[in-house]
Every structure is written in C-alpha cells, then in structure tokens.
Amino acid sequence: MTETPRRFLPLLVVIAGLVGVWLGASIFASIS
C-alpha cells in the first residue's frame, strides 16, 4: 500500500487549510 511519510503531514495540513479557505471564499462568492 502506498504510504505517506509522516514528515510531510504538517506541510500537507497547511496546504489543505489554505485550500479550504480558498474553497470557502469561492463558494461564498458564487452564492452571494
């Protein structure tokens, strides 16, 4: 099974957080 080294996790979390903010802002812009 493919595995993700643990040392990448913090970076992935930060990227995912920014993606979420961008996604939220885009969704809000499209519904308002």
């Binding site: 595995e3 080294p5 993606v19 979420g20 903010v21 996604l23 939220g24 809000f28």
Partner: protein, 267 residues
C-alpha cells in the same frame, strides 16, 4: 501500518477534514460579515416580515458552515486517531480559530462602524472581547502546559493544577454525564498514562471523578490491569521497549493497580 508512514486513504480522509474545517470557518466568517453589513440581523421566510432580508447566500453559508464544522471535527478525529495524538489534537485548534476569527469581525465592526456612527460601538466590541477571551484562554493554558512539559518539571505543574481544580467540579456536574479529559479517539492517552501520568497526582482526582459520577474515567481506577500488562509485553516483544524500560513500566502499572485498588476500597 508501519510507523514510518501513514496509508494514503487515512491521509486523504484527514486532509479532507482539514479542508472542510477551514472552508466552514471561512464561510461562517464571510457570512457573518455580510450579515453585519446590513446591521447585524436578518430574517427570511416563515413567520418573519422581511424588514431586513438576508444578503444573498448567507443563510446557506452560515448553516452549511456550522454543519461543516461538525463534519470536519468528525473527520479529523476519526482519521487523525489513526495517525497520532498530535494529528487528532489538531481538531482543538478549531476552537480558537473559530472564536478569534469571528471575534475579529465583531471588533472590526465595533471599531469601524458601517452605518456612519462615530467611535466604538460597544454592542459589537463586547461580544468581540468575549469571543477573544473564549478563544484565547485555552491557548494560554495549553501553551503554559506545553512549556512545563518541555521543561520536564515534575509535580506542581500549572496544567495539572488546572485539571485538578476543574475535575472535581466536572464530577459534581456529572449528573449530566460530563466527565473526562481525554478524547475517546486518543490512542496514545493510555500509553502515556503508563508512563506514570495518571498514577501520581492525578490518581485521587480520577478516583473522585469515578466515584461521584459512576462513570468509568478514560483512564484511572478501572483500567484493566491484564490489558495494560499485555500491551506492555507486546511493545516489549516488538522492540519498542527495551528490557529496562519494560521492567520499569511493568512495575509502574502494578504500583498503580495497588493505588487504584486502595482507591476502590475507600469508596
């Protein structure tokens, strides 16, 4: 699962939780600003007379954001518990992020009113300050606890004192079932307990909480001795613990069993 890595499915589920979480907070933040732009309250449909209709999209953003937060917390705890305690604990950041960001909205609109008023608007400033206090107080306690843990100071830790002070209160309020510091998904809680965390200053408190509530604390008196010994010997067998550490941990578990038995007898 090897300790060196995490399966891709777990990572994706976990990251999905992070994405949904920050997305939900963003939606709540923007939705709140849109509502505050029109004066701070709005109503649509149902029995409401639409004196102030809601800005387009805000009901969806606010409701979606709130449900999204719960979903995100679930995903982060579910998948994070398969990764590490720290990964699970990330969910706790949601609280300060949510309250500080929404509090910032209150403070912003309190200091810079949109309706032409001059000076600070206390109706916004007070909730803003309250939100920041609610959001930042746990951060202050957590940082203090973290510094103490790093310094490795035994005994009189502030974090322990906070827990010691809060737990009896939690115990007395636990007619509603409210007991307990460790999260159910916290895979490492019991391991760290074996390092003696709960066996010293915490043991009487857990015993008290267990007695007053009738609920078994997450770790404490009712921890199964055989199960603990079994887990230790498993760690020993796979080489996670060397002979010396195994011996110490085992003695520790047995000592705690004695302490717990004494606590049981006192009930």
């Amino acid at each position: 699962m090897k300790p060196s890595g995490v399966s891709i499915g777990t990572v994706l589920g976990y990251l999905a939780g992070i994405v949904v979480g920050t997305m939900s907070i963003t939606l709540l933040y923007l939705g709140m600003r849109a509502v505050m732009d029109v004066g701070g309250a709005c109503a649509d449909g149902g029995p409401f007379v639409t004196a102030q209709p809601c800005p387009a999209g805000t009901p969806l953003a606010m409701v979606g954001g709130m449900f999204g937060l719960f979903g995100a917390a679930g995903l982060i705890m579910w998948f994070g518990s398969r990764i590490s305690t720290a990964a699970t604990a990330v969910v706790a950041l949601g609280w300060p992020i949510l309250f500080v960001s929404l509090g910032a909205n209150f403070l912003d609109y309190g200091l810079h009113p949109t309706d032409g008023e001059n000076g600070p608007v206390w109706g916004w400033l007070i909730p803003g300050i309250l939100f920041w206090v609610m959001g930042l107080a746990p951060v202050v306690v957590a940082i203090a606890a973290w510094r103490e843990a790093r310094a490795g100071r035994p005994g009189n830790r502030m974090s322990q004192q906070v827990v010691n002070r809060l737990l009896p209160a939690a115990g007395s309020a636990s007619a509603t079932g409210g007991v307990r510091p460790a999260m159910p998904t916290d895979v490492d809680a019991r391991q760290s307990d074996q390092a003696g965390f709960a066996s010293s200053a915490f043991a009487p408190v857990y015993a008290a909480a267990g007695r007053s509530s009738g609920v078994t604390p997450a770790f404490g008196p009712a921890v199964d001795l055989a199960e603990d010994l079994e887990r230790l010997s498993r760690l020993h067998a796979i080489g996670e613990l060397n002979d010396e550490e195994f011996g110490r941990a085992k003695a520790d578990v047995l000592t705690r069993a004695d302490v717990n038995a004494a606590a049981e007898r006192r009930r």
